[in-house]
């Protein structure tokens, strides 16, 4: 099993609606209807984890919609032919496991 396949398998255990896509030849993980806490409130929306260099960061987590609580400003980006939002926050560098990367990125909207 490749590294990406193994990492994706762990994400899938965390969230069964995860689907592995590809853009630019690199893995892109779509977590459909993913639930998380932001500003004390529960949110459910599609999020996109890109565990490699993208749009100037070493990894990125994109959200379907902005939340009211974010540690920095939002920027928009088009990935997989949809428009997404990401927090222009600190960089979360590989080689963290994808599950850990996801958790670190979610801290941007805690």
């Amino acid at each position: 099993m490749s590294d990406s396949a193994a990492e994706f398998a762990k994400i899938k255990m965390l969230h069964s609606d995860a689907v592995l896509h590809q853009e630019g030849g690199k893995p892109v993980v779509l977590l459909g209807k993913f639930s998380f806490l932001s500003g004390g409130q529960s949110h459910t929306m599609d999020v996109l984890l890109i565990p490699s260099a993208h749009s100037g960061y070493d990894s990125r987590l994109f959200f379907e919609r902005k939340t009211a609580s974010a540690k920095a400003g939002w920027t928009s980006c088009r990935v997989l032919e949809r428009d997404w939002w990401a927090v222009s926050w600190k960089d979360v560098k590989p080689p963290l496991p994808w599950t850990a990367m996801l958790c670190e990125h979610l801290r941007a909207v805690e």
């Binding site: 630019g24 030849g25 749009s55």
Partner: protein, 293 residues
Amino acid sequence: MSRFERQSFLGRDSEARLDAATVGIIGLGGGGSHMVQQFAHIGIGGQVDVDPDHITDNNTNRLIGGTLRDVRDATLKITIAERLIRGLQPHARIVAVPDKWQNATEHLKHCDLILGAVDGFIEREQIERFARRHLIPYIDIGMDVHDLGEHGHLVAGQVILSMPGFPCLRCCGFITDERLKLEAARYGAAGGRPQVVWPNGVLASTAVGLGVQLITSWFSNPPAFTYLEYDGNRGTVSASAHVAALKGRVCPHHPSEETGDPFFDIREHMRRFESTPGRLTFWRRLFRLPPKH
């Protein structure tokens, strides 16, 4: 006698080809406004012009067609563009979008060619990916003025043709992760750099020339990939060394498996559109598409 008589060398059918073509221009500032004007002069029949901004005073040193009155009236750049086009092509098929390009993709998908005159590398990369997904050739232009300290300034720029299946902006080293990082560190602020009219004119004219080579048959062996570097101090436009180095190279950054919309579902598409038979007739007329079956 046609107003295109003096360009008949472009080919017997060139007038028809140019009229049938639709080009998309993203960014209607110093570079884009030149391209709008030139495509109208040469008889391109359709334009999709995209820019969210209105003209301001500090655009007037380079925005073709913009006047001081437009500044006073806060005229949208797309309005200036449309005025330019209509003065030459009264029946042109124009879609003018006063918004960011991500909100114009339904119109841009119709284009035979997309040209970008935008400020940032992050944006360029996204536009190019959109164009590649839809098998649309993309031409990128841009200029910079580099402060060389006691040695003065260097006016420089580039015109890059990114054709599906051929090297891309990453292949030729124009877009790199390092450049994207620097831009992201500035929170994506890429504008406000020195800009002046004549380098924009050179770059835009070169881009239009490449576009006409793709649309008409006048040039026997048009390039499928080119990276032209402009040296404004020497007054030269020459092929980058990347062109020869990348000959025959297949682009790994836009795999052929990634065309289209990964979420497209014909069942959902049919549900949305088969219940509205009269919808979008306007766009069909605009882009001269055949009538619905």
